[in-house]
């Protein structure tokens, strides 16, 4: 890929047209273009309004339960015998994952824009649950599109969304997973333009979504800077997070991008293995293309048809990645790794047994690489893993995969 000359900062993107290098942009139907321009304007105004930030900070503290702890995983650290491992406990947020940070911001924006009807897509259901939660809190109508395959494997979250008053629409088209849920949400938006706000769950989609979702998720990295400085008297040596679309990773990484000595690792889902067709690693196994409003790395065939992703984790089961991550890969600032279903399952079990924390299968992918990297690092190497969500939702599928071994 085109590698630009040495950059002064990795934190200035996107440009005014929503580009991160060649990635990003606004590849949407004309019907949606005026809506996206409205959103961009409304977000810029909200961002500049101290009252918006004050209200948001209040909800983050009193409703979401922030700051989330930065927890030293002592037994994991001892067992691996190398780097000092911290978990950023996004699993302890209200609704059980990092998703709520972004949803709070978008729902407050929807309210500000006078849009009473909220639509969202969801894969694992965590973004759907967060959206249903915030819609209940702010008194807005909520419709969540979810692939029918995901509806079947994430039943607890479907029930949570319903209990919170959301309408869950199973999507039967295409591969019946996250990408198809996103297609269906876009079809809804193009039909209901006047009253509907599309609450996207990750750092992808047309500009300004990748930037806006990133900004809302940066609370993760900003808190981590303060917390690690308080605990260690310095910044960490490395950061690691799982990447589907990449919002939890971007939230952790972005505030550290210009600290050039910090190693940053993104972990994609390798499914049955990168040498098979059954994975969801769009950087490792895809190439740049255009889908869902942005140019980014995508899984596709030689004719530009999007192929189905596979991961044991519904939240990583998407054939693309946020455009800013694509750019961070090409510039070399973030190193992209991957972990298979099997490796994630092993890490999941280790985390349960050593730390008393049931992680979601998504961050279990990042933990799988921690298990490999940490032993090779010295004991004064401080590593922060984004524990982006809790694993209660995954217990049924873990039990099924492990059979009698659980």
């Amino acid at each position: 890929m085109n590698v630009p000359p040495q950059l002064n900062s990795f934190r200035t993107g996107p440009d005014e047209r929503g580009h991160f290098g060649i990635y990003g942009g606004r590849f949407v139907a004309e019907t949606l273009m005026p809506l996206i321009l409205d959103l961009e304007k409304a977000y810029a105004e909200a961002k500049a309004d101290p009252a918006f930030k004050r209200e948001m900070d209040g909800h983050l503290t009193h409703y979401v339960g922030r700051p989330s702890p930065l927890y030293l995983a002592e037994r994991m650290t001892a067992q691996l015998g190398g780097a000092k491992i911290y978990f950023k406990r996004e699993d302890l947020n209200h609704t059980g994952a990092h998703k709520v940070n972004n949803v709070l911001g978008q729902i407050m924006l929807a309210k500000r824009m006078g849009k009473p009807r909220i639509i969202a897509e969801t894969g694992a259901g965590m973004h759907g649950v967060a959206t249903a939660t915030m819609c209940a809190k702010f008194g807005l109508e909520c419709i969540v599109y979810m692939g029918s395959v995901d509806v079947a494997r994430q039943q607890p979250n479907v029930l949570r969304m319903k209990a919170l008053g959301a309408k869950v629409v199973p999507v039967e088209s295409g591969s019946k997973t996250l990408k198809d849920a996103m297609n269906e949400a876009l079809r809804d938006w193009v039909t209901n333009v006047s009253d509907t706000f599309y609450c996207i769950g990750t750092v992808a989609g047309p500009h300004p979504y990748p930037m806006m979702v990133r900004d809302f998720q940066c609370v993760i990295g900003n808190e981590t800077r303060e917390q690690v400085t308080a605990l260690e008297g310095r910044l960490p040596n490395s950061l690691i997070a799982c990447i589907g679309g990449g919002s939890n990773a971007m939230g952790l990484f972005h505030p550290f991008l210009d600290d050039k000595d910090i190693e940053i690792y993104g972990v994609e889902a390798a499914g049955h293995g990168l040498n098979t067709a059954m994975h969801a690693a769009s950087v490792a196994g895809g190439k740049p293309g255009v889908l869902h409003g942005n140019r980014t790395y995508l899984l596709m065939d030689a004719d530009g048809q999007i192929t189905e992703a596979h991961s044991i984790s519904a939240g990583l089961d998407y054939p693309g990645i946020g455009p800013e991550h694509a750019w961070l890969n090409d510039t070399g600032r973030v190193k992209f790794l991957s972990a298979t279903d099997e490796e994630a399952l092993e890490a999941f079990q280790l985390c349960c047994k050593l730390e008393g924390i049931i992680p979601a299968l998504e961050p279990a992918h990042a933990l799988a690489r921690v298990i490999e990297i940490a032993p090779r690092k010295p004991k004064d190497h401080v590593m922060v893993l984004n524990l982006s969500g809790r694993g209660d939702k995954d217990l049924a599928s873990v039990a099924e995969h492990l059979g009698g071994k659980m």
Binding site: A29, E30, M33, P34, G174, R187, V190, N192, V193
Partner: protein
């Protein structure tokens, strides 16, 4: 830019005082041979301009009929190379009917924009409609296409207000495709009064012909739209007519081509019976 078959066709029809019937089919639905047979049969039953859909796995602006149609084509092995070959085969026998390729950007991007434009022009394609390329992304394909001598036909929608219309029309050529509803293809029907108002609004900003689509299913609707617009686009209704003839494995039957041509003939009669005001 020299005039294309699209420009010539609309100019001829204007002289005749009638609107164009613009018909859509998905290349390779349900297989390449059948869709080529349909394509070849369309001009004789009254199609004035033909839109050929390039199938895509994720047709975000399309309703269930065209989604399923794209999936049938892809399942049967349709590729961009085969789609371009279909147009070449059509062009060997028909030098005048304009062909517009319609679809989404990724298959073109992956084929390679430069190579695509060269091959499309050589195959006898006259224009492009690419749903997910708004004016904000004109440098991607629109400007190179215009330079290559192809029309780039833009969609204007009910959300395209007077302030935005000039930007949408700036690099549009051939004709303007007015999407008469906010929504996906093949769903709600357009209200003829609203269409009339919208067409006059667009015409205040451009001299290009304005064709209207989304939701047109019957000869009566086609006639009503043809009274206000320079062209009537019909897509999902034709896909549905084709689909109704397929067997349980989505295989074409003896009646498949005829079902489409019969509906096109009826729509053409509707368009031709329209009374055009003030011309």
């Amino acid at each position: 830019m020299s005039s294309t078959r699209i420009d010539t066709r609309f100019a001829d029809l204007k002289r005749q005082g009638r609107a164009a019937l613009v018909t859509f089919l998905t290349a390779g639905d349900p297989d390449t041979e059948t869709s080529l047979a349909i394509l070849k049969a369309l001009p004789d039953v009254g199609a004035d301009v033909i839109e050929v859909g390039m199938p895509f796995t994720d047709p975000m602006a399309d309703g269930p009929a065209i989604q399923a149609s794209s999936q049938r084509a892809l399942k049967a092995g349709q590729t961009m190379v085969k789609t371009l070959a279909m147009i070449r085969a059509f062009r060997a026998a028909d030098q005048t009917t304009p062909i517009v390729l319609m679809g989404y950007y990724n298959p073109i991007y992956i084929y390679g924009v430069g190579k695509f434009l060269t091959d499309a022009k050589a195959a006898g394609i006259d224009g492009l409609i690419v749903v997910d390329l708004p004016p904000e992304e004109d440098e991607e394909l629109c400007l190179p296409a215009l330079k290559a001598g192809l029309n780039f036909i833009r969609l204007a929608t009910p959300t395209t207000d007077d302030k935005r219309l000039p930007a949408v029309l700036a690099n549009t050529s051939g004709f303007v495709y007015y999407v008469s509803i906010t929504g996906i293809t093949g769903m709600a029907a357009a209200d003829p009064w609203a269409v009339t108002a919208a067409v006059s609004r667009i015409k205040r900003h451009t001299k290009l012909p304005v064709a209207v689509g989304f939701g047109v299913r019957s000869a009566e609707q086609a006639r009503a739209i043809a009274q206000a617009a320079d062209g009537v686009v019909v897509g999902s209704a034709l896909i549905d007519a084709l689909k109704a003839t397929l067997d349980g494995d989505d295989k074409a039957q003896a009646a498949s081509v005829g079902a489409v041509t019969k509906l096109v003939a009826s729509l053409a009669a509707g368009v031709r019976s329209a009374k055009r005001g003030g011309k």
